[in-house]
Symmetry: C2
Subunit: 324 residues, 2 copies
Amino acid sequence: MENFNNYLKIINEAIARIALTRQPENLYQPIAYSLEMGGKRLRPILTLAACDLFGGNINQAIDAAVGIEIFHNFTLVHDDIMDDAPLRRGSKTVYKKWNSNIAILSGDTMFAIALQQLTHTNHPKLKEIISVFVQTAIEVCEGQQFDMDFESRSDVSIAEYLEMIRLKTAVLLGASLKIGALLANAGEDQTRLMYDFGINAGIAFQLKDDWLDAFGDQAKFGKSIGGDILANKKTYLYLKCLQMASSADREILQNLFQISQSDENAKVRSVLELFNKYQIKEAATLEMEKFFQKSIQSINQVVAPADKKEALTGFAEMLYKRDK
Amino acid sequence: MENFNNYLKIINEAIARIALTRQPENLYQPIAYSLEMGGKRLRPILTLAACDLFGGNINQAIDAAVGIEIFHNFTLVHDDIMDDAPLRRGSKTVYKKWNSNIAILSGDTMFAIALQQLTHTNHPKLKEIISVFVQTAIEVCEGQQFDMDFESRSDVSIAEYLEMIRLKTAVLLGASLKIGALLANAGEDQTRLMYDFGINAGIAFQLKDDWLDAFGDQAKFGKSIGGDILANKKTYLYLKCLQMASSADREILQNLFQISQSDENAKVRSVLELFNKYQIKEAATLEMEKFFQKSIQSINQVVAPADKKEALTGFAEMLYKRDK
């Protein structure tokens, strides 16, 4: 894990070097605020790790890694407007601290700065790297739109849900790894394996998010259990329960997710009872384990030094096995 | 002008070829709607014209030209949310026809598609072209933020206003021309001259916009005179009048721009009387003529066939001399 802590340090130092004490202040202060909020820096760490895995020079990968992280933060700034989210990582979201116009425009600027960072990369494969990046950006937007569409739809299938989280979350993890591999001049089959590793791990991570929200240990989880339930989010758990339940229970669950109840605890309790009745915890565990194993299968096929592969697998496993 | 009409046709055909009949509909329909609204396609026409001016193959410039046009339309979609604008080119704006979340997200996607188009370009200078594009994108955002900031400031100087319109409007015209020149492998001094041509012509065009809003012939202008006055916009005309007026008149003008009056005609009439008293029409004409002449000086220094230079100058002059 030592390398990964070092990657985090490199990324944070590179982000701190971006000149954001600029005019107009109302544009650049929100950008600095968003980037200083921290976060796990998961995506740029994966880019550096993938570059190193294939013997690349990680110094050559820093600009692209930072670009990917800024892009990720841009999506959070815009998503928070769309989701009307007041808090992010315990602090006010940009649109709550300033306003939505400023959040729209500083988000747009972050997208441009992300690309500027990426374009600083000196590499013969820059065109392919930018192509992967913009294709991924389009898919992330598609994922967010599907997610918003699902709010008002009552016929979302599990397959559609998995495709939504693939687009919204997993493709950027896949692209982070693929771009790192491209920067190290890895071959086409190797970059594809890295992408597949990221896609399947990304889906597993998102399913784990859903899982923790319902079945996590509240003391470790750090936030209340049932946030998704109270927000009527159509997660894997909800969709799987609909699929498994008797028609009477299905109706009860659907009703619970339509009405806004005055007693929040009672609502969470009722939904969890249904989840328990139909063994949704076990079904979700199986499903995420399936995706996680698929991701491991991909990286196992990668031709690279065993210790580096193990470090990357260990990092993914740590994220997957997290209890908060 | 025949070439320019042909360029318009090429651009519209290329835009029509982009596959936008896709899922999710709520993401792609607004994009198609925005791009089908039309508009003058001024920027991509300039890219093709600049490429042709230096003997380049315009077929090689179509992707970049289309990318620039899509970027421009993205800025309109987001600006309309921020400006709360109900209409654009006589049709409902995206955020009015759908909602602001959809307008934010389809705008983001348009930015990514713009880059995707640009990246389709096969050219050894692609890295430089993308760098020009993203730097310009950042500056356009800065210009929009300055414009929003000016709404609540009472101490905006004419120099600040000119810098704001340089960023918000002129740099994208400059970049459109520069990218066309780069695609034709024009030298550094030539691409700089084209950029300067675009910057100064762009400032002249924007000043002309301000001018027409107050002094245009309503029958030809096609919309009501005084829209900027009613919106309390701090245009060149307003700032110049503040500079020229006696302290008593300055106070009257400032008051007129602070209160929202019930009698709109009276407000426009009072402001125009002050503009006439201080010969703002003449001052603004001189100012925009100065920028237009500067733009002509730049293109005059360009080394290119005289007939092609004249066609481009004629096109700029037609835009500048427009009465609507």
